[in-house]
């Protein structure tokens, strides 16, 4: 049944966007066939601008001609449209907690990456506080979703490659096995999951891109 629907699903994306990766992982878990369109963000296609006139950004999911934008909103749309292989918790409170961490988990990380000195220290404190709380969500579980990958795993999945890249570039380790044993284990389990494994660009390519962005920002400051 999912195959018949396959032609009707298109994802507009950009290879290095963590927001796009979220949608790819969700489509994989739900076993939805789709067409992928790589956008040149310096020269956005007319179709993209038509489908997302408000923000003009990727990802955009187009299903049966209708467009949905904003990655977390796309995740919930996917969950509600394709009923099998559920990714959202059933319980309203668990849903609320997952929705909260989907956006809050990343708080401070970008600031940590692009600042120096006192500003960076403050950002780091915020990041560590958040990770300590996030770690608690993994107690007794392999994934945030329980036994299987769920909405929150997908939403914060970018941490599994993003944080190591940030750590490499800034030469500062945040998620160590000692300090965050559960998060550390989760990162490995998530990266090695069948739904994630072959979805990402080569680590070196991603690393290079983040480094370029970082150098450009640092140069502007100095």
């Amino acid at each position: 049944m999912e195959e018949a629907k396959g032609e009707e699903v298109t994802l507009f994306g950009f290879w290095s966007s963590p927001f796009v990766h979220r949608v790819i992982w969700a489509l994989n878990i739900k076993k939805i066939k789709y067409k992928y369109v790589e956008e040149d963000l310096s020269n956005k296609s007319a179709l993209l601008l038509e489908h997302n006139p408000v923000y003009k950004k990727v990802p955009v999911l187009v299903y049966n001609g209708i467009a949905i934008a904003e990655s977390l909103i796309i995740l919930e749309f996917i969950e509600e449209t394709w009923k099998e292989n559920s990714i959202m918790p059933q319980d309203p409170y668990e849903k609320a907690v997952a929705r909260f961490w989907a956006t809050a988990a990343g708080d401070g990380l970008w600031q940590f990456f692009i600042t120096e000195g006192k500003e960076r220290e403050e950002a780091l404190t915020s990041v560590i506080n958040n990770f300590e709380l996030l770690e608690k969500e993994l107690i007794g579980k392999n994934f945030f979703g329980g036994d299987r990958i769920g909405y929150l795993d997908i939403s914060v999945g970018w941490i599994s490659y993003g944080v190591p890249i940030f750590e490499e570039i800034t030469e500062f380790k945040i998620i160590t096995e000692q300090k965050f044993p559960l998060l550390h284990a989760w990162m490995e389990a998530f990266s090695n999951s069948e739904f994630v494994k072959d979805t990402l660009p080569l680590r070196e390519k991603l690393s290079e891109r983040y480094r370029k962005v970082w150098e450009a920002i640092m140069q502007k400051k100095n």
């Binding site: 408000v54 209708i66 949905i68 934008a69 904003e70 909103i73 796309i74 919930e76 749309f77 509600e80 449209t81 309203p92 409170y93 849903k95 609320a96 907690v97 929705r99 909260f100 956006t103 809050a104 708080d107 506080n129 958040n130 709380l133």
Partner: protein, 221 residues
């Protein structure tokens, strides 16, 4: 937090974000305890209930905290699902509702703040942005009674608290919401006919007094 049965809302009187939660609770007829927070001296309960952002509103239901106003409203809608349904039922309409509520979240308060914080050229830029926002929302509303269609819905709840800030925006930046987005102005009046909204929204003049207080605090002339 003890697992006390019941519903408590940690809030601040003029917060449009807190008012979203209050309106949702009122629409559903939920009894709750309202706790006013002093934002310059946050309570231990608030800091414990929202350790990440330390912000209001926080809904505490049977001892468990829910943070972020739109998440709170969806939670309220899902738990008290027997009446006054706020979210549409079809996936695409739900996605649209979430999209526009999120748009309001990203744009309105921030742009509104710049209207009273800034002067001159920068204020003019913010004013143009606010007009664009209002007109985009007006296009979404169209000729419908509410953003939700015939029923008062999620996007209505997300946006309506800001209508009591319109007077402040208009006064600080010298424009008229009715002039630039008449359908929005009419929608705001229709919403005020609902008891949940009328009893929750702050008096626009009181909001303006608060904005003037903030201006003094931030040293804005």
């Amino acid at each position: 937090m003890a697992s006390e049965k019941g519903v408590m809302l940690l809030d601040f009187w003029v917060s449009p974000f807190g008012q979203r939660a209050r309106i949702a609770l009122a629409e559903k007829g939920v009894q709750y305890e309202y706790k006013e927070e002093n934002l310059t001296e946050k309570s231990e309960l608030l800091l414990k209930a929202n350790p990440v952002h330390k912000k209001i509103p926080v809904l505490i239901h049977d001892g468990k905290p829910v943070c972020e106003s739109l998440i709170i409203v969806e939670y309220i809608d899902e738990v008290w699902s027997d009446k006054a349904t706020l979210m549409p039922s079809a996936p695409y309409q739900r996605a649209q509702a979430r999209f526009w509520a999120d748009f309001i979240d990203k744009k309105v308060y921030d742009c509104g703040s710049r209207l009273w914080k800034l002067k001159g050229e920068e204020q003019q830029t913010a004013k143009k942005e606010m007009i664009d926002i209002l007109q985009l929302l007006e296009a979404q509303l169209g000729d419908k009674k509410y953003f939700g269609g015939d029923s008062f819905g999620f996007v209505d709840v997300a946006f309506v608290p800001f209508t009591s800030w319109f007077y402040s925006y208009e006064t600080c930046a010298n424009f008229s919401v009715e002039g630039v987005a008449p359908k929005i102005a009419q929608w705001a009046k229709r919403c005020m006919e609902r008891e949940s909204v009328a009893k929750t929204l702050s008096d626009p003049k009181k909001v303006y007094e608060f904005v003037c207080f903030l201006k003094k605090k931030f040293g804005v002339e």
